[in-house]
Symmetry: C2
Subunit: 388 residues, 2 copies
């Protein structure tokens, strides 16, 4: 494995009743005034908003609200949040929602403590030196944002979607109660599964030697997601399945299964360019891209795809070449995506060839992407064309 | 899974060159005077002492030393350390060694900030409210103490060996360079393997429903330990194998594979009573006890032992009963212990039946032990007798 420094300070709460018992106590460590940040209002429809407000009121915590954080959260919303925090003297941002709300909170948190345009941090022109504390109440199993320091912001003026973060943007605490995901619509549940699975794949395809435990830990998460996916889709109020999937999403991107390995992340880079232009669901874009990326990359480097076939999908390697195993593994990946009824091609989102060139260009604007196999603009273009 | 709160704030460094680059920077976050705590002097023989002293001097960090921490560290040594820290105004304890030195550091750290006898915390008569910061440089892969908040202290006056800790005793940082374990003697290497494996087993045998990912994560660590054990024993300077084993030891007891499950820990409770009287190696005691505990417990609850057989040892379950599978799994556990040439019976340490009654009595002095299956004094006695 590579030399590494790992530190993840988030206090992670799982289970029923934790919010009621510990929310106020956790907030109080940082102050008594919060920005309550949320999305399109589903938390109001399903009672979570009322529950949180009640707890804040009982705990004598003041709050101001910013609602309407978009899926693929926008820079304009981040700016609103920064202004509000500064004007109101907020001590902590309490993000209630899915990955988009949490990612937006991280951008706001850095922006409040940053003297300049926060988007510079996402454009890699600046580095955050501090951030307002963040706490989260998760309502969607997908991004892992509840226990990591990263997030993605979309700039609609420039049609850019960029990831960023800092050691200061780990949530101080996160509350994960699977009951809060019971009302997640079927398509969002499916996209969430695609997203957490994509995080596992990004880790799994790494160029690092000697990481046998990491390989197994990642396989453990992939297998558990695949085993439970159908169940949460068919039985949205199955607590056990919802909790298992939620826990997989946290573990897929909190750094614990990927210490000392350098994940690939080319698919995320490509997908961000697609959804920056078309505003499609991130998980859907990833599900479309991965099999095509796998086809492309496995031609030259089939080894890890063969591992996937054997250790995740249980394919018997006897008498098969590495390439054969890789092909069978990738077919299993496709089969799983088909089984959860996620789009298979860009055309399913009415995306044609009109912007492929531009997306390929933008994907590599900070340099070649991918660690397992480096991709240049032309490679990206071929993968996107295959995905049409 | 059970509701849980997980937080592990330790900054974990793995790999070559990390100490040289980051030790001083990490210490400086807490002050400029350290207690350098170490054991029998092997760090002097193998050059690590000189390297650390050089770094401290270059970094203008003052230090005082306490050497001679025992395997199974003693309360008397803890008291010495507390006095020294108080007299000298130490800001951080830098523990250089294996689990014993690290555990001793934790006791000292709590003692410095505790108004009273620190042993009360281990006797569960008091709770730590604060602790001096701790940093560690690990030289033995075994206990996982480098990334958890617990430790074990032996009181020779009362022949008690008790575990304790607090949220304040997570090391602030830990440096794990596998090269520092190249010189670990063969028997210590073997005992270390037994210890980390025991931590996995303690987690694996839990009564908690619905923890499929946790089960797989634990199995991942067990399999990786078993695969690499022979290699580190036979090739003590094999960097890859030493690193993999070291990483397994950290992951086996940093809480990451056991969130939301309630480990058994009966074997640790029993072993502590044996080594409190006989001062045998902790890992050796555990290796003796586990198969006998497994025999005893699996008669009533064979399910998890059958899981172990199938998912860790790859036994084909076709046509076999749960009990049959359990028995085959336990035989594999025995086989592994035999393969690494660890003692199989208490008699191998010249332990007879003279103190069994007392050890059984002491094991359960805080109540019945074990979570997968509760054990009373009589149960413990039967297991100890089987292990004679």
């Amino acid at each position: 494995m590579n030399p590494f420094r790992f530190q993840n300070p988030t206090a992670l709460y799982y289970g029923k009743g934790q919010l009621e018992q510990h929310l106020v106590e956790e907030i109080r460590k940082y102050g008594n005034k919060v920005l309550l940040l949320y999305g399109g209002g589903s938390i109001k429809r399903f009672g979570l908003y009322d529950k949180v407000i009640h707890l804040l009121r009982e705990g004598s915590i003041e709050w101001v609200e910013l609602a309407g954080v978009e899926p693929n959260p926008r820079l304009t919303t981040v700016h609103k949040g920064i202004d509000l925090c500064k004007t109101e003297g907020v001590h902590l941002i309490l993000a209630v929602g899915g990955g988009s709300v949490l990612d937006c909170a991280k951008a706001i948190a850095m922006g409040v403590k940053f003297d300049g345009e926060v988007y510079d941090i996402y454009q890699r022109k600046a580095v955050a030196k501090d951030a307002l504390p963040i706490g989260t109440i998760l309502t969607l199993a997908a991004t892992g944002s509840e226990m990591n320091s990263g997030g993605v912001i979309t700039n609609w003026e420039t049609k850019e979607k960029l990831g960023g973060g800092s050691p200061y943007t780990f949530p101080k605490f996160s509350f994960c109660d699977a009951e809060n995901t019971f009302t997640v619509p079927r398509d969002q549940t499916i996209y969430g599964i695609c997203d957490m699975l994509a995080h596992c794949y990004e880790h799994y395809f790494h160029p690092t030697e000697n990481a046998p435990l990491q390989r197994r830990l990642i396989e453990s998460v992939i297998k558990t997601i695949i085993e439970n996916a159908r169940k949460v889709i068919d039985e949205p109020t199955n607590y056990e399945a919802r909790e298992t999937i939620m826990y997989c999403s946290t573990m897929a991107l909190n750094g614990m299964i990927s210490m000392g390995i350098e994940g690939d992340w080319a698919n995320h880079a490509m997908e961000h360019e697609i959804s920056a232009i078309y505003d499609i669901p991130h998980g859907g874009g990833l599900a479309i891209l991965f099999p095509h990326w796998m086809d492309f990359v496995s031609q030259e480097k089939p080894e890890r795809f063969a591992d996937l076939a054997v250790h995740v999908f249980g394919i018997n390697p006897a008498g098969k070449s590495t390439s054969q195993l890789a092909a069978e593994g990738i077919e299993k990946v496709r089969e799983f995506y088909r089984s959860i009824e996620v789009p298979q091609r860009l055309a399913d989102y009415q995306i044609g060839s009109e912007n492929l060139e531009r997306m390929a260009e933008q994907s590599v604007r900070f340099g070649e992407i991918g660690k397992y196999r480096k991709l240049n603009k032309n490679d990206v273009l071929r993968i996107l064309q295959a995905a049409l």
